[in-house]
């Protein structure tokens, strides 16, 4: 199976990544190189093999359902590229 320019455009859309038109074709080439190499995994019989979910056997941890942190709206805004009061500013979403 091979990845073409349109597939790259579609994945880039899914990934919310602006890939310039001129990069689509070269990117398809790069991805194909990688996917062709990965094809070797098809040689291995994996019927009945469980998918890995965790490398370390351990039970999921439980904790009390309590608030442990918060009230830091000022700190949260420190790195905002555009913000006012305690709001992040974005382009208009609803017309």
């Amino acid at each position: 199976m091979s990845v073409d320019k349109d597939t790259v455009r579609r994945i880039a859309k899914l990934a919310r990544l602006a890939v310039p038109e001129a990069r689509l074709e070269p990117m398809a080439g790069e991805l194909n190189g990688i996917f062709q190499w990965v094809e070797m995994l098809g040689e291995v019989k994996v019927d009945g093999v469980p998918a890995m979910t965790s490398v370390v056997a351990q039970k999921l941890k439980w904790r009390e359902d309590q608030v442990t942190d918060g009230g830091k709206a000022d700190e949260l805004m420190i790195n905002a590229p555009d913000g006012t009061d305690h709001f992040f500013v974005v382009p208009k979403v609803v017309e």
Binding site: A15, R16, L17, V19, E30, L31, V38, V46, M52, F88
Partner: protein
């Protein structure tokens, strides 16, 4: 003492605690060395002023005999660990001006023990790379050069700033992170020690995430003893990381010198691969002989799925990367593109401008293998392969206590030599990536020089949470190798 920066972490600790030198003297020497070492580009952010303040606090504590395990000892921190109030970039334009309002657990553990932060070291962007060339802050140069050339070499990656800083005496020790080999490979090609602990040994809280099921923090040091000292403080169980494991942290340093009489060392035959230079395999054989001479038993073992590890990794890691990096949207923090038409355009443009080429490539691979219709063929199959790879190790460890392998398929290479074909770069991790997929601890120890005077490392792989045995075996390799080489400080002119 003539050159304070040439000391090991253990030597410096003993000298500071005995009050032979102050933390301010020691830290001042490193601040100067870092300034002189700027041509290496090892640090993204220097924190000299803050370091001197921390050193001053340490000296007061030592005067009152209140010092912690690392009191007054200056360290470098990979710029992937969030440090409160100090810019943390992940070597990406998208986080170029990010100043975390919180501290990673690993670094907090270090500061609680009294350590001093010298600054934040360079790396491949989001730790994706094996040469430190994908950094948005420029490449790092390896302090080592071949005996017959003045060409600049890469320091390995992704923890290339940390490896260069340790090898060039720009810190006593450094932190790194290892997702596919990012601690061990750079340590190997700079002639120093790098330890990737068991998955879950160190908390991942506050470390910028790349592939969460593979990422693990660890120390990069001048000696095995220094790695033991660092790990003791870095490791902890943490309520903020549900994958950190509650297993007691032993005093690794005390357990170093037990000897390796009767230790069973496995040699995996699948690690003898085509195209690897003869000197790598010769060094590997020599390593086995060193351990045998100290009373270890050498056993041949088989890890049949070894050759599938890299392709498996290049499905699992990009899949997790595409998910983790979805948070960079130009809204709450990080780079925001200007002139966006609408919210989707804002996301797409900010991410397109903020991420470098390799990161974009991996986001696209990850998005593809997780997308409808391809999930079973790629991601699901890779997760099954991962089970088989781990099973290989489980079976091998029925016959042995540690494994011995080369760390890298070659020494440091020239800047720009492997940037055209991504696959060629990926192959750097052929011996290290299996360990991440299986969640095991691994360490690289400097073991010899190539004909051209470049360092090579040997890797030891241990059982899960048995870093103590791993370090003891590494100490035995280090003792036998007696690697005393350091790079000529060509940047000090």
């Amino acid at each position: 003492m003539s050159d304070l920066t040439a000391m090991t972490l253990a030597e410096a600790r003993d000298a500071v605690q005995a009050k032979k030198i102050s933390s301010k003297e020691l830290t001042g020497a490193f601040v100067k060395a870092i300034e002189a070492g700027r041509p290496l580009n090892a640090y993204i952010t220097e924190a000299g002023e803050q370091a001197m303040l921390m050193a001053d606090v340490s000296d007061r504590r030592i005067a009152k005999s209140e010092g912690g395990a690392l009191e007054g000892l200056p360290l470098a921190i990979k710029d992937l660990f969030c440090t409160k109030g100090v810019r943390t970039t992940a070597a990406s334009k998208i986080l170029g001006n990010f100043v975390p309002p919180y501290e990673s657990t690993v670094t907090q553990n270090l500061w609680d023990a009294g350590a001093v932060m010298l600054g934040k070291t360079n790396l491949d962007e989001f730790a994706m790379g094996s040469s430190n060339e994908t950094s948005a802050f420029g490449p790092v140069f390896n302090p080592w050069r071949a005996s017959n050339s003045n060409a600049n070499l890469v320091p390995g990656g992704s923890s290339g700033g940390s490896s260069a800083a340790v090898a060039a005496d720009l810190c006593l020790a450094a932190t790194g992170t290892d997702t596919g080999g990012s601690i061990r490979q750079p340590a190997a090609v700079t002639g120093r020690v790098g330890l990737k602990p068991t998955y879950g040994r160190c908390s991942r809280f506050g470390i910028v995430a790349f592939a969460s099921s593979l990422d693990q923090a660890g120390p990069m040091t001048k000696t095995v003893r220094d790695a033991a000292i660092m790990l003791k403080t870095m490791a902890s169980v943490d309520a903020k990381d549900s994958t950190s494991v509650d297993v007691p942290v032993p005093d690794y340093e005390k357990l170093l010198e037990g000897g390796i009489k009767g230790l069973r060392v496995g040699i995996p035959k699948e690690y003898r691969i085509d195209g690897v230079p003869a000197e790598i395999n010769a060094l590997w054989t020599k390593g086995a002989d060193w351990l045998k001479a100290q009373g270890a038993e050498i056993v041949e073992v088989s890890l049949p799925h070894t050759k599938y590890a890299l392709p498996t990794y290049y499905i699992v890691a990009p899949a997790e990367c595409s998910s983790n990096l979805a948070r960079y949207d130009g809204v709450r923090f990080g780079h925001r593109a200007s002139g966006a038409r609408d919210i989707t355009d804002l996301y797409e443009k900010s991410r397109g401008e903020g991420f470098g080429a390799e990161v974009q490539r991996r986001i696209l691979i990850g998005t593809y293998v997780l997308s409808a219709g391809y999930y079973d063929a790629y991601y699901s199959r890779a997760q099954k392969l991962r089970t088989l790879i781990k099973r290989d190790f489980d079976q091998a460890f029925e016959k042995c206590d540690v494994l011995l392998t080369p760390t890298t398929p070659g020494p440091a290479f020239a800047v720009g030599a492997k940037t055209t074909d991504p696959l060629e770069m990926y192959l750097q991790d052929v011996f290290t990536v299996t360990v991440n997929l299986a969640g095991l601890p691994g360490i690289s120890v400097p073991a010899g020089l190539t004909e051209n005077g470049l360092p090579l490392g040997l890797q030891l792989i241990g059982k899960a949470f048995d870093e103590a045995t791993l370090l003891r075996a590494a100490y035995a390799v280090e003792t036998a190798a007696d690697f005393k080489h350091s790079p000529a400080k060509w940047w000090n002119v």
